[in-house]
């Protein structure tokens, strides 16, 4: 088992390699120059040139790539061109808000979506089913910049229940931390909830037609016990997959939501880095996100084994 985890973790390397190459050349081929952005639109060509030299941007591309890439192996992702800090520090300092947000959003979406999906499945074809599914679709029909703003207008501006935007770390107290995250988490969660609810429903439908559900009925079990104890656990694998992917995308940056709610997370980090053409930061962040992705997928895969004993054996 430990070996397996190790091997999976090692599979990060090829992923990272792909990502590293693609992101490096992609971003360097994109127009825009970090030096001229730092110095502003009226900067003199000589100054820009001097800054480019100082930042090492005037070296041939392959040389830049190798010096950056070789750094990765000793754990050095380089320093941000704009933010005056190592990439790793920038990433970790932005990871906290993103993680809190992702976890809260995920909890919200799961709490809404799974019961919805289950109820819709058990009431398949009825009005209840249709109502829940349409409701779930609302989540993916409203762009988050709009939903976020509407939530702010309602809960912050009108009702004054929650702050409009911003972020406080956990160290400022749990409520202080949470109150800034509730609205963005709902914004994000509603999108995820739609997908998870749909997946839950279809997966539950598959399971509910299985023979062992009939066996459970024949045992004289209550409907509720059958659904939650027998059916749901079997239906969990595809649900877990989407939850895992959803979580991955959340961590990779809820770009829009973070911008609307002004949460200093990974999404903001990457958007700012892109707008500033902060090459080193973009490269490093994308790389770290890829790593996070692989890591989350690993956890999901391990959870498969916990949920379904068959998976433990059938692993290839």
């Amino acid at each position: 088992m430990r070996l397996y985890i190790l091997q999976r973790l090692l599979s990060i390397i090829p992923v990272m390699l792909v990502v590293a190459i693609v992101v490096f050349f992609l971003i360097h081929l994109t127009p825009g120059d970090p030096a001229s952005i730092i110095l502003g639109p009226d900067a003199l060509p000589e100054d820009i040139k001097a800054l480019r030299t100082e930042l090492g941007l005037d070296l041939p591309l392959y040389q830049q790539f190798f010096s950056w890439f070789s750094g990765i192996f000793v754990g050095d992702l380089g320093d941000s061109l704009y933010l005056d800090m190592p990439v790793l520090t920038a990433f970790t300092s932005h990871l906290g808000p993103t993680l809190s947000l992702a976890i809260l959003a995920q909890i919200i979406s799961i709490v809404i979506a799974i019961p919805f999906g289950i109820i819709a499945a058990t009431k398949r074809g009825t009005a209840v089913d249709q109502f829940f599914m349409v409701f779930a679709l609302l989540g993916i029909s409203i762009p988050s910049f709009l939903l976020g703003l509407l939530l702010i207008l309602l809960f912050a501006v009108e009702l004054h229940w929650l702050p409009a935007a911003g972020y406080q770390p956990l160290s400022a107290g749990l409520w202080n931390h949470l109150k800034f995250l509730i609205l963005p988490a709902i914004t994000l969660g509603s999108i995820q909830a739609a997908l998870i609810a749909r997946m839950t429903r279809s997966s539950m439908l598959d399971i509910l037609s299985m023979n062992y559900i009939k066996t459970a009925h024949a045992k004289g079990l209550k409907e509720r016990v059958i659904i939650y104890k027998h059916a749901f656990r079997n239906a969990l694998i595809p649900i877990l997959t989407v939850v895992g992917q959803a979580f991955g995308t959340l961590v990779a940056g809820a770009v829009v939501t973070e911008a609307v709610f002004n949460i200093p997370g990974i999404g903001q980090l990457i958007v700012n880095a892109i707008q500033r053409r902060d090459y080193v930061l973009i490269q490093g962040t994308v790389l770290l996100i890829a790593g996070t992705y692989v890591f989350i997928n690993l956890i999901v895969d391990l959870l498969y084994g916990v949920v379904d004993p068959r998976v433990r054996l059938n692993k290839k």
Binding site: G125, M210, N211, Y212, K214, T215, A216, H217, A218, K219, G220, L221, K222, E223, H230, R233, N234, V307, D308, P309, R310, L313
Partner: protein, 338 residues
């Protein structure tokens, strides 16, 4: 026969709502099971055996299924029972072994959990006790080292063992009636024999009534006291095993019995077949359902549906020609088969 059957199915009719309109898979099925008796249900594949057994337990999807008639058990009509009362009966007083052992066990729970579960809900004992009982049941079914197996998952054991787990589960609460839907189809004869023996032993011990659904007439001959023959959703003949095998009255039953390859038969001879094909449930013939394939059918048969009638010796048959046939070949037949 005995005064009051343990379980009585009266004019059961099960209708499914389908896209192509209502489909009556089981139509006017009547039979009963007594204490300590094994009754066999045989018939063409698709004739409604499983639907009959699932109707007794009311396991079919309530939304698309309509039941008519009655299923009497301990004086109550199961088809009218509340859901909660029905749950008390399921798995407790009447239990069922499903047709397909491979898919009838929950893949994510251990065998022990699944057996203990039924004990916990019906006998209100602690989990630990239930596990002990589960282990005991497994031992009874002849599974070696049940204390180990109890913690294994269904995919870790063989098909024969899964079948035995299902039986253990069904018998865990010592039910009054056991419905076994083709419990041995997937098994080879040696294991089949073991399982049949087991059911037989428990039957005598618990005075259970057993409904045994099977294709294998050999099995019927070995374990059943009475047989019900079904065709296209209807019971067409019912009787004591001995009588029925030696004096089948319905032309379909006769065809069925004649089709069995005999162990001592002449191998060069062709097997007997019943001509024609079973019509779909959406187009059941008016009149006798077997008439289109029957050698004896006449206009009366094709126009008017026969009813199930007692002929004597507890034998019932649904055929206009039964009397005629009985008279004509009663004695010849005995000589031919045995």
């Amino acid at each position: 026969m005995s005064s009051q059957p343990l379980l009585e199915v009266n004019h059961l009719k099960t209708t499914f709502a389908t896209e192509e309109g209502p489909v009556t898979a089981v139509d006017d099925v009547t039979f009963g099971v007594n204490k300590g008796e094994t009754i066999g249900i045989v018939g063409e594949s698709g004739c409604g055996k499983s639907v009959t057994s699932e109707s007794i337990m009311r396991l079919l999807d309530e939304k698309t299924t309509k039941y008519e008639g009655e299923v009497l058990f301990e004086g109550k009509n199961l088809l009218q029972l509340s859901k909660a009362d029905m749950r008390d009966i399921r798995g407790n007083k009447i239990s069922m072994v499903f047709q397909d052992p491979m898919t009838s066990l929950n893949p994510v729970q251990t065998i022990g959990d699944q057996i203990a579960e039924v004990i916990v809900i019906h006998q209100k004992v602690s989990k630990g006790e239930a596990f002990k009982k589960a282990e005991e049941m497994l031992r009874l079914t002849g599974i070696p080292a049940p204390e180990k197996r109890i913690n294994e998952y269904p995919h870790e054991i063989s098909g024969g063992m899964r079948q035995r787990v299902l039986i253990a589960m069904a018998l865990a609460c010592r039910p009054k009636v056991l419905i076994a839907d083709e419990p041995t189809t997937a098994l080879d004869v040696t294991i089949q024999a073991q399982i049949l023996d087991l059911i037989d032993e428990l039957k005598s011990e618990l005075e259970m009534g057993v409904i045994m659904i099977t294709h294998d007439l050999g099995v019927v001959a070995e374990v059943c006291q009475r047989v019900v023959v079904m065709y296209l959703g209807q019971v067409i003949e019912e009787g004591e095993v001995g009588t029925l095998f030696s004096r089948p009255l319905h032309p379909y039953t006769r065809g069925l019995l004649k089709s069995i390859p005999q162990l001592d038969g002449d191998r060069t001879e062709k097997l007997h077949v019943i001509e024609g094909v079973v019509p779909p449930l959406t187009a059941v013939p008016t009149g006798c359902r077997f008439a289109p394939r029957c050698a004896f059918a006449d206009d009366h048969c094709t126009s008017k549906a026969p009813v199930l009638e007692e002929i004597g010796d507890g034998q019932k048959v649904r055929c206009w020609k039964a009397d005629e046939l009985l008279k004509k070949e009663g004695h010849e037949h005995n000589a031919a088969t045995i």
